[in-house]
């Protein structure tokens, strides 16, 4: 009865999809060979450059800083969002106090805060971490809040009836029941954090993947620019797969129950 969910992309045996992908790559190769355009280097060239560029020096100069910023910003958002969201879901009054502020802040496009962050926190890591955390905070916060609020009353009543105290109800019923929605927020934020990371590094930075891509473009090092873009795509994919692994483990019961009850 448990249906294993396929991971997206590489792992699924979707040969039609792969045919389209190979067609795209093949067409790129042929067209770029024919035109000889500077802006569209051949796939072969991009792959060669990719292998040459992403060696240890560049990995430690650009990839590591990017991942550290992303990890710090996202981690900060996950922590704050979960705690504050649960608190807001539990205490209606707190929610009413904070709701207008939250609605205003989350409607602000995060890149608009980059100048502010650079001004107040300087060009170092702090400003990027702040913008990444700011952008990824809201989906986590709001999903945690709604998750707590939407826990089925019947489950809470059942637990109370069996003599569980408020604390035990919170830990053993509300917490697990909130998990699916909390994870939905965490997943949305992961993509948001990734995007914000690149933007923040393009605007005011001296290293990182966003900086690397923009710099390559400015120097007309076009194959390097593509190597950077391709690495970002790859990292995005891997981060997503890792997240799904964790989610699958924590929410194995949920996936099953959803598969059975439409």
């Amino acid at each position: 009865m448990r249906t294993p969910r396929r991971l997206p992309g590489i792992r699924s045996a979707n040969w039609m999809g792969w045919l389209v992908f190979l067609g795209f790559v093949g067409a790129w190769e042929i067209l770029s060979r024919r035109s000889g355009s500077l802006y569209f280097p051949t796939v072969t060239r991009i792959v060669e450059t990719f292998a040459a560029v992403w060696q240890l020096p560049n990995l430690s100069a650009h990839v590591v800083p990017s991942l550290v910023r992303m990890g710090e910003g996202y981690g900060l958002a996950a922590l704050t969002g979960t705690v504050l969201g649960i608190a807001m879901g539990h205490w209606r009054r707190l929610d009413r106090f904070l709701e207008p502020l939250v609605e205003f802040l989350r409607a602000t496009p995060p890149p608009a805060l980059i100048p502010f962050a650079l001004l107040t926190m300087g060009i170092g890591d702090a400003s990027k971490v702040f913008v990444i955390a700011f952008s990824s905070l809201w989906p986590i916060l709001l999903n945690a809040r709604d998750g707590v609020r939407n826990v089925d009353q019947a489950m809470i009543e059942t637990a109370r009836m069996f003599g569980l105290k408020a604390r035990e109800v919170a830990m053993r019923v509300v917490a697990p029941a909130t998990m699916p929605q909390l994870f939905a927020g965490l997943r949305t934020s992961l993509g948001v954090a990734f995007i914000t990371m690149v933007i923040a590094e393009m605007v005011g930075s001296t290293n990182g993947l966003g900086y690397f891509i923009l710099n390559a473009q400015r120097l007309f090092a076009v194959p390097e620019m593509y190597a950077g873009i391709f690495l970002l795509g790859l990292l995005g994919y891997l981060v997503n797969v890792a997240f799904e692994r964790v989610e699958g483990r924590v929410l194995s019961w949920h996936r099953g129950s959803r598969a059975v009850q439409p």
Binding site: M155, E157, R160, M161, F162, G163, L164, M179, S257
Partner: protein
């Protein structure tokens, strides 16, 4: 006669000032080991009453006493089984873990005792071997059995059931009715069961309390002297069953349910 374990005295419940009362001056009592059913049209406050008895809802006036003690919060030894098993079983716990959950609050039991008790109750409802399944892997009827096993593992003095068989198909329903009677004979817990199915109410009960709706009131208290053990075919075709049925239908309001009394030649009047 057995002693009274549950007393409901002049209980009224109003959800807000402007609304009509959900319950108005409801009084009745239940004796130890008795099987009492409450039957009435939907919206007559039956479910509200059960929630008040198990302390999940506060009453507006009157008094509810369980074993002489006034109910202010969930009283120990009283368990409610909901109609929606899928809303009261915890989907992140296995069947066994669900049944064990209320036992963790019970003092004087070793972990081995708890496990043994849970296994015994699962066996009693015919679910041995299903302990490691998740509730959502089971059919609706089986899930409600898990909920019943969990309630019984708690070893309640009073078992409250709110339309427990309302969400399963007709055949499963009969099966679960007989299972419940069987368990009741075995363990002799006091039972108060709410249903809107008049036949079910008679089939199960020692006594049927007839409710009328809006505001909910007790309009009749009908003793059932049908012999036990009951039998889905024999009991339901007994002459007494038919006459109880007519009496209760008339109390609920013959005008609204004339289809039900019609086969006995007593319906149709408005």
């Amino acid at each position: 006669m057995n002693r009274v374990v549950l007393e409901v005295v002049d209980v009224s419940k109003r959800f807000s000032e402007r609304q009509r009362a959900a319950l108005e001056e409801v009084s009745f009592s239940v004796r130890e080991g008795e099987f009492v059913t409450i039957v009435g049209p939907s919206g007559c406050g039956k479910s509200t009453l059960l929630k008040c008895v198990c302390g999940l809802l506060a009453i507006s006036s009157g008094e509810i006493r369980v074993e002489g003690r006034r109910v202010t919060g969930p009283p120990p030894g009283v368990v409610l089984v909901f109609q929606e098993y899928n809303r009261s079983l915890f989907p992140w716990l296995t069947v066994m873990q669900n049944v064990m959950l209320p036992l963790q609050k019970r003092k004087g039991l070793t972990p081995l005792d708890r496990e043994g008790l849970a296994l015994r109750m699962l066996a009693a409802v015919g679910l041995d071997g299903f302990g490691n399944h998740y509730p959502w892997e089971l059919s609706g009827g089986m899930q409600q059995r898990v909920a019943i096993a969990r309630a019984l593992a708690f070893q309640p003095r009073i078992l409250l059931m709110d339309e427990p068989f309302g969400s399963v198909d007709a055949l499963t329903r009969m099966e679960l009715e007989d299972l419940l009677l069987n368990l009741w004979t075995q363990f002799r817990f006091t039972t108060l069961l709410v249903t809107h199915d008049v036949d079910e109410a008679i089939y199960l009960a020692d006594r049927v309390l007839v409710f009328s709706g809006s505001p909910g009131r007790v309009v009749d208290d009908v003793p059932v002297h049908l012999p036990r053990p009951r039998d889905q075919i024999g009991t339901r075709s007994a002459a007494e069953f038919a006459s109880l049925r007519s009496r209760i239908f008339r109390q609920i309001g013959s005008g609204r349910v004339n289809w039900a009394t019609a086969p006995h030649g007593e319906g149709g009047e408005r």
